[in-house]
Structures are given as C-alpha cells and as structure tokens.
C-alpha cells in the first residue's frame, strides 16, 4: 500500500539558551526519523518522556517545519504553517491531545466545539451540521444531551470523547493521538482505545499513536517505532517488536510492562540517568545505560539496519541479539 504519510530523514533542532548571554545549545529533538503510515493502519511511537515522540507527531501533522528532511502527505509536501493552504489541509489531519480540558474552550458548549471544524472549513448547511453532530456524538459514545454542556461539566473520559468527536468532524484521513489516554482512568483508557480501533476499522483512518504506555500501544498498533533521544532505535511489526524486542533499550521497555503470570523475558532495570538531549553521548546514545555495550558502542554510532525479519534496529549487536532471541 502507498503510504498516506511519509517522513524521510526528518530532523528538528531546538536551541536551548543557557544563562543570560550564552549562545544556544542545539538540541536535536528529532534526529533523522523516517516513518510511513498507510491508510487504515496505526503506527505506535513509544519512548521515555523527552525522547522526541511528541515532536515527531507535530512534524507529521505539519504543525512544525522540519529543519531537514521531508514530510509528504499523499505524496505532496506539506504547506508552510500559517498559510491558507496549510489551514485547508487541517481538515484532513487532526491531533488528539493528552489534556482534553486544556484543549477545549471552556466558554463554548460541546456542540459548538464539535461543529467548529465544519464552520472553519465551511462544510455543510446548518441542518447538515446538526445531523453531523448527532452522528459524531453517537460514534464516540456521548449522550446527545451532553452537547449543550460546557467542558468542565463533563468527566475526563467524556471530554476526551468530545475532543475525538471534534477531531473526526471533518473526516480526517490521518489522526495523531498524542498520549490520548494517559490522563484517564485505566477502565476508561480501554474504552477509548477500543473506540479508536472501531472508528479506524469503520473509516479507514491512518493513526499515529504516541504513548509511553506499551500495553496500550501494543493493543492498538500495527507497527511500532521505539524512540530514544530523538532517534528511532527499533521499528517493525508491533507483535514482533513486543514479543521479541532486539534493541537493548526496547528490551528494557518491554520487560517493564507488567504481565500476569510468569515472565517470559527477564526484567531489565536500566541503570544510569535519563538522557539529556543537549548532551548526547558520543557513539551510540544508549551506551551509558546499556548492559551489553561494547568498546565500539562508545565511539561508533549504529545505523538503523533492516534485519532478516524486516524489522529495523539501530544496534551494533543487533545480529547476534536477534539470533539469541529467536
């Protein structure tokens, strides 16, 4: 299938200024990331906080311009943010936020906010919009009488459903969900995730699902990319990555997911400090925390190499680790 969205070697550099007169230290929030999402498929992006997964999501949506590399949507590059063409593109791709209360205007009713994208893009007549509102609320499982409420009068789960209804209003082809369930109760998390899967099946939406919660990502993703310090360290079919992760960092992450019954993988506890993106270690960025690091890892940066099973891993020892895992 041709990808709906394609990111090729995309980098985004922020400048963190230190002190009053210090010049900026470049922080590579996203570093040479390449991703594809096909219609109807979900790509999960996992990693620690600060690893650049949210920035990757914003780059995918064209909310930010990459400093290098290219983002293509339906084979065409994105328009520059703030232009009329860029605004028109928004109807086709939407972002679902982590904090639904912050993402909604607390002065407007749910109905007004869910219909706002239609008003913005001039879709439908007043009667059609009313009908659309009813459909959208039903699709996300909100009672019709909640439409006249204000966001603060809803529960957290209802708010996230309302945000989702707003995101779906224009029938987008791509949905980027940035930690959409991490602020919610576990029981509600499952409901929202199931709803997302159902909506995707019904509408063929391509999704990028960003989360630090591996259990949720495993549930919803077809493909998964593990990020560490702005780079992808392992990428492949979700089942393969979660069942037998190759990269030592992916192994540590997967082994930290609570499982019922006896563990298949040994629990790997990472030592060392969480990384500072402004001071990227030389060689492989993960080597100070890696139990399997060799002398070579301290000097040589591993490339993302495709393995025999089609998955991509950035580790010097990927070959032997893959054989050992098999």
């Amino acid at each position: 299938m041709t990808p709906l969205l394609e990111m090729q070697g995309v980098s985004r550099v922020y400048r963190a200024r230190r002190g009053l007169f210090g010049t900026g230290t470049p922080v590579r929030a996203v570093d040479h990331v390449s991703l594809q999402v096909a219609p109807g498929r979900t790509l999960g992006i996992v990693g620690e906080s600060g690893c650049g997964k949210s920035t990757a999501g914003r780059l995918a949506l064209g909310l930010e311009r990459p400093d290098s590399g290219a983002v293509q949507f339906r084979g065409a590059p994105m328009a520059a943010p703030g232009t009329a063409a860029w605004r028109a593109e928004r109807a086709q791709m939407q972002l679902v936020f982590q904090d639904p209360l912050g993402a909604m205007d607390r002065r407007l009713t749910i109905a007004q906010q869910v219909l706002e994208p239609l008003e913005i893009h001039g879709i439908g007549t007043a009667a059609e919009r009313r009908e659309r509102l009813a459909t959208l609320l039903r699709d996300v499982g909100l009672r019709a009488d909640l439409a006249e409420r204000h966001p603060h009068q809803l529960s957290g789960g209802q708010r996230q459903r309302a945000v989702l209804a707003r995101a779906l209003a224009t029938d987008p082809a791509l949905l980027v969900c940035d930690e959409p369930v991490s602020a919610l109760d576990v029981s509600i998390q499952a409901q929202i995730v199931n709803m997302l899967t159902d909506l995707q099946a019904a509408r063929g939406i391509a999704m990028i699902f960003i989360s630090h919660d591996l259990a949720v990502v495993r549930l919803i993703s077809h493909e998964v990319a593990v990020m560490y310090l702005g780079r992808i360290v392992e990428q492949g079919e979700a089942e393969a990555v979660f069942a037998a992760p190759i990269h030592p960092y992916a192994r540590a992450l997967v082994s930290a997911v609570p499982v019922s019954g006896p563990r298949r993988l040994e629990r790997i506890v990472l030592s060392g400090d969480p990384p500072n993106p402004a001071q990227r270690p030389p060689g492989c960025a993960f080597h100070p925390r890696c139990a399997l690091a060799l002398a070579r890892c301290r000097t040589e940066d591993p490339d993302l190499v495709t393995q025999s099973d089609g998955r991509m891993v950035a580790c010097h020892r990927a070959g032997e680790l893959a054989r050992a895992a098999a």
Binding site: R90, D99, R107, I120, H152, Q153
Partner: protein
C-alpha cells in the same frame, strides 16, 4: 460541580452590586440628560446668593446643593460635570482597552520584532510618569475635549496589553488556542472568537481598575488647571476650584468628591461581580 449546580436556581445578584448598578445607571442617565436636568445654566451667577449652603444646612430650596463663590448653582454644575467626567472616563477606558488589547494580541501573534517593539512601548509607558506626559502634550497641543479624551485613553493601555499578550501566548503554546489553530482556524477566528471571550473577564477587571484611575487623573489634571478648562466644568475641575473655600463652603468640594467616590466604588463592585458572572466555571 455537575448536576447540582446546573439545576440550582441562578444566584441572586448581591444587594451591594444592585445598589452599585442602580448608581451607575443613575449617573449614566444624569450624563445623558444633563441639559434637561440642570435647574440653572452652569455660568448663571446669582451674586446676591453667593456661598449659600445646601438645603438643610441653612440654604434655601432655590439652590438645593448651595452655590459657589460666584453664586453659581452647585447642583447644576455637578450635573454637567458628571456628563463631562463620564464622557472622559468611559471614552478613555474604552480607548485604552481597545488599544492595549490590540497591541497585546499583535505582540503575541507575530512575536519577534513586533513583540519587542510593543514591549518597549509598554516599558516606556510604565516607566514614564503619566502626569508628565499629559502635561507636555497639553502644553504643546493646547486643550480640547477630544484631545483630552484621547490623551486619557493612553493611560493604562499597557496593563491591557500585558494581560492580552501574556494570556494569548499561554493559550497559543498549549491549550484551546493551539487546538483551534490546528483545526485550521484563521488567526482572526482564534483571537476574536476564542481568546477574547476567554480573557474578557480579566480585561474587564483591568478596565474597572483603570476607570476610577482615569476619573482621578482627570480630577488631578483639572485641579492643576490643565484638564477641563473653565467655563466648562468637570468633577475634578469643581474639586480643584472648590478647595479654596474648603473651610468656608465645604459643599462646593464635597458634592463632586462624593460623586467620584460613589461612582468609582460602584464600577469596581460591578466589575468584580461581572468577572465572576462571565466565568462559566463559577456558577
């Protein structure tokens, strides 16, 4: 917070706020119909009845609030003064709010050089004693009522600009403005439909704070002889000229002073109440 507050009857307006609203309404009516309400002309002198005290203090029914040193009716002058002062205070506050909010939004939207320019203006305005600016402008350009209102409108705009800029930046960085932006909304829609209603409550409070200050500033400038010029009269102007007779005829000064106090207090009370009422999360 949910069902109970929704079905509960809407809260009654507090008595104090009701009184304040009634007072503001009265003042506005007086300002509107000043020409009909005043019993005498403001320059009409009654030299035989100079410095007559108000009714109840030895005065007569002919001059309800007494007369001043030239025998002019204090009540008539007060009514016309209210009109001029209200015009200046409302006009100036509106100009300041409009100007400041616009500059604040521009700074938040364009950032970079525009923002630096606006911030420089704000700092300049905040560090320069306004009285000195006002004095020099009035000295150079002379005095007319429209100019005076425009000048007073320069007072306090920086407060609105700061508030508008700060809140707009915060909302743009995360939250509803960012969310609406990524829906594809134009900047006009983001700022007018979403940001402005959301920060209106804060701006209203700022405006109710600067309203009394404008009244007092006008009084101060008129007191110095630089504000409203005779034969025109304003509340501050009356206070200024009445001070010479403070011991012999205190009513000349006390009548406009009490109007100033009552009006500024009422505006503050109503503004505070309005702020709470405009916030849908505080029902």
């Amino acid at each position: 917070m949910s069902a109970t507050t929704m079905t509960a009857p809407r809260q009654r307006i507090p008595v104090l706020v009701l009184i304040a609203m009634a007072w503001i309404a009265t003042i506005l009516m007086v300002a509107l119909f000043a020409e009909m309400l005043r019993p005498y002309g403001i320059t009409a002198m009654d030299l035989r009845a100079r410095l007559t005290p108000p009714v109840g203090f030895g005065g007569t029914i002919r001059h309800l609030l007494g007369t001043d040193e030239l025998g002019r009716d204090v009540l008539s002058r007060l009514i016309v003064s209210v009109r001029i002062s209200v015009l200046i205070a409302f006009g100036a506050t509106a100009i300041a709010a409009l100007f400041g909010t616009t500059l604040g939004f521009l700074a938040a939207h364009f950032r970079g050089l525009v923002e630096q320019g606006v911030l420089m203006l704000i700092d300049f305005q905040a560090s320069m004693p306004f009285l000195i600016v006002a004095l020099s402008v009035l000295a150079f350009f002379g005095n007319s009522l429209p100019l005076f209102i425009a000048l007073m409108g320069l007072y306090g705009w920086e407060r609105h600009a700061r508030i508008a800029r700060g809140l707009a930046i915060a909302a743009n960085a995360q939250g509803y403005a960012a969310a609406v932006r990524q829906l594809g909304a134009t900047p006009g829609r983001i700022y007018l439909r979403h940001l402005l209603p959301n920060i209106a409550s804060t701006l209203i409070v700022a405006a109710t704070l600067s309203f009394p200050e404008v009244v007092l500033l006008e009084s101060g400038l008129s007191f110095l002889g630089l504000g409203v010029q005779p034969p025109m009269t304003s509340l501050g102007n009356m206070v200024g000229y009445g001070r010479e007779y403070l011991t012999r005829a205190p009513w000349i000064l006390l009548a406009p002073s009490s109007i100033i106090v009552m009006t500024t207090l009422s505006v503050s009370l109503v503004g505070d109440w309005l702020r709470d009422r405009l916030d849908p999360t505080l029902t």
